[in-house]
């Protein structure tokens, strides 16, 4: 798979939490050639099934594995139209106001007809020389900033409604050493790893039914993954999400190196499944770091684990610098390695995978 081409494609899709229609349709097309069936459910979860390629020895139903990586993105919304035609912003998910000054954004104006029109805007702020000495030392708060559409107030009022979405702009940018930066690497880079795994599995055997899920509404609480897990009713789940890679300001034990996937340990992760994952990594020469979560992981794991009667989960993390900015930076090699690890993990699941889970 050409990972950079995938990143360019995904960064051009808009899909704030709860509004994933466009991105889910685009992702469904990516899964179709690799899976037996692809559906989009009422929360816009993409659920792609790749059926088992070898039967169980006693003819019992194949175990079901759910893989989950989320497709939604943090965004903003129109909170008010000011008398000069600029827009005040509200937040959809955790947007850091520090990234906004002089950023470009896309306003999805619903107009009078409800027909969405995408309009480019620039985020402006009161310039520093008009601020008091004290305010100059502070970051702008979201309430201080505005979106400039380059239009007269009358025109803006005709086109824009309060509640219209505003998405961030961050095209895929290629850097040195197979690294790349874009918006929404969190978590569509991990959906890329799912696609890599699906591609590898075309020439591998597996006795489990594999449900690739590009989940929704993760940034507001993993709500899409929760209903998808009800639908799939998996025996076990592997969640992929991003984690923080080390930067100069990082504190000890809060980050992992950029160049390899990591696996999370802690109560929300089933430790025997984690051991199996680590062994797979070792057997196939995939570099795998580890990190901890003392309770909630801040990923789909938190709700998949308690879906239906409960689901044993493992969590693989792709390290990322500058999370929740429009320059989320990661290593493309780590994306494909994560896919390779996943493919071997799935292919290596034997009928007795659950036997030793709880002792």
């Amino acid at each position: 798979m050409d990972i950079f081409a995938y990143l360019e494609g995904m960064a051009a899709q808009h899909g704030p939490s709860g509004q994933e229609a466009q991105v889910s349709a685009w992702l469904a097309e990516r899964f179709k050639p690799l899976c037996d069936s692809v559906t989009i459910d009422s929360l816009y979860n993409v659920i792609a099934l790749k059926k088992a390629t070898r039967p169980t020895s006693d003819g019992s139903p194949a175990p079901k594995v759910m893989l989950s990586a989320h497709q939604d993105e943090i965004a903003l919304m129109v909170a008010d139209v000011l008398p000069d035609g600029t827009l005040r912003m509200g937040s959809v998910g955790g947007v850091d106001p520090r990234i906004l000054p002089a950023s470009t954004v896309m306003v999805h104006a619903s107009g009078e007809t409800g027909q969405i029109r995408q309009m480019l805007g620039v985020v402006g702020a009161t310039p520093p020389h008009l601020l008091s000495e004290a305010d100059r030392g502070h970051n702008y708060k979201r309430e201080d900033l505005f979106v400039d559409l380059g239009m007269e107030t009358e025109a803006v009022k005709k086109l824009v409604q309060i509640g219209d979405l505003i998405t961030l702009q961050g095209p895929a940018t290629r850097l040195l050493n197979d690294r790349a930066a874009s918006k929404t690497m969190d978590d569509r880079a991990c959906v890329g790893s799912l696609l890599c795994a699906a591609e590898k599995l075309q020439t591998m055997n597996h006795l489990c039914d594999i449900y690739f899920v590009a989940s929704t509404q993760e940034e507001v609480g993993a709500w899409g993954a929760y209903t998808a897990a009800y639908t799939v009713d998996p025996d076990l789940a592997v969640v992929l999400d991003v984690t923080h890679a080390t930067i100069p300001a990082s504190k000890p034990d809060t980050t992992v190196p950029l160049d390899a996937p990591a696996a999370t340990y802690g109560p929300f992760v089933q430790h025997k499944l984690l051991d199996r994952l680590k062994k797979t990594a070792k057997d196939y020469g995939v570099a795998l770091n580890t990190e901890y979560a003392t309770s909630r992981t801040g990923t789909d794991t938190d709700l998949i684990q308690i879906a239906r009667e409960g689901v044993p989960c493992v969590l693989i993390d792709l390290p990322l610098k500058y999370m929740h900015t429009t320059v989320e930076l990661l290593d493309m090699h780590a994306i494909s390695e994560c896919g390779r690890l996943l493919a071997h993990f799935l292919s290596g699941l034997t009928e007795d995978w659950g036997a030793e889970l709880w002792n």
Partner: protein, 341 residues
Amino acid sequence: MELKNLCEMQGISGREELVRMAVYHECVEVLGEKNVTIDRMGNVIAHKKGTRRNAPSVLLCAHMDEVGLMAISYTDDGLLRVRAIGGIDSRVLVSKRVKVGYFTPDHEPLNGVIGAMAIHQQTAEDRKSVLPIDQLYVDIGAKDQDEAKAKVPEGTPITFDTPYTPFGDGMLLCKAADDRVGCYNLLRLLHAKTKYDTHFVFTCQEEVGCRGATGAAFRLQPDIALVLEGTTANDMGDIPEAQRVCLAGKGVAISFMDNASIAHPALFQEMMALAEASGIPHQVKMSVSGGNEGGAMQRAGSGAKTCVLSVPCRYIHSPSTVCSFTDIEAQYQLCKAYLEK
């Protein structure tokens, strides 16, 4: 030359070579080689004789340089430490894309991004305090210090990576509108049927203190100087009317005074009357703010009558400057009317 090319061209103060050579070649094409020189500061000076005898000498100038960054050192893990060249509020740098090094026939610039700690890991204090430039880094994806140093020598110029984008109603979003719009109009004015003995001066190093203009003004000592600039428009958001400086889309801004110079009252009045009579959209720059090459022009040698004519620019000195095509055209039309009247 197209405005798009000029705005996307890279040229921080002191490193204007790409703009300089592009401008030089166009001047030579229009006025002939013997009428164009590059002076000892790196300004491009083009000369055109006037049609009127004993007319005063006129100098028009626009600056080639833009604000940007310069690489100064490297972190252990291969990030670039940078400093601003010209006045940049560090708050506009977070989460932006840059080009590291220049486009030349045998060299492509590297992509870079300016990141910051994720919101999840910030303390309450982090959220409040502005990240100064010495805590911001350009990330080119280098693995370590040695690689970064080999790819990006100290002093490498870094510019904003902003494609030229018309948007809204007749507005333009770009980098370096200050002052490539002036360069663009100055190139168009080479074709004017000027009555005056006219020098067209494309200056360097305006953003670090009008270094180029000072030398050019001394050399040429014109009777009259017109400065084609891009200036701050504070016309959006909660800004009191009196602090808006000028309004994007409402015409060329004519300054009676700024922090660097005072317009000659008769010249100022002449410009206002000319704009009025010719139906050219114009406005008076409402407040005494900003400084520019008007100062160098006004006080070179025994002095010149000066007037600054600006295109209002929102979010000036940021990666996303916004200005109006109406105002760019108005700046050109007013200068043309003055030279040809």
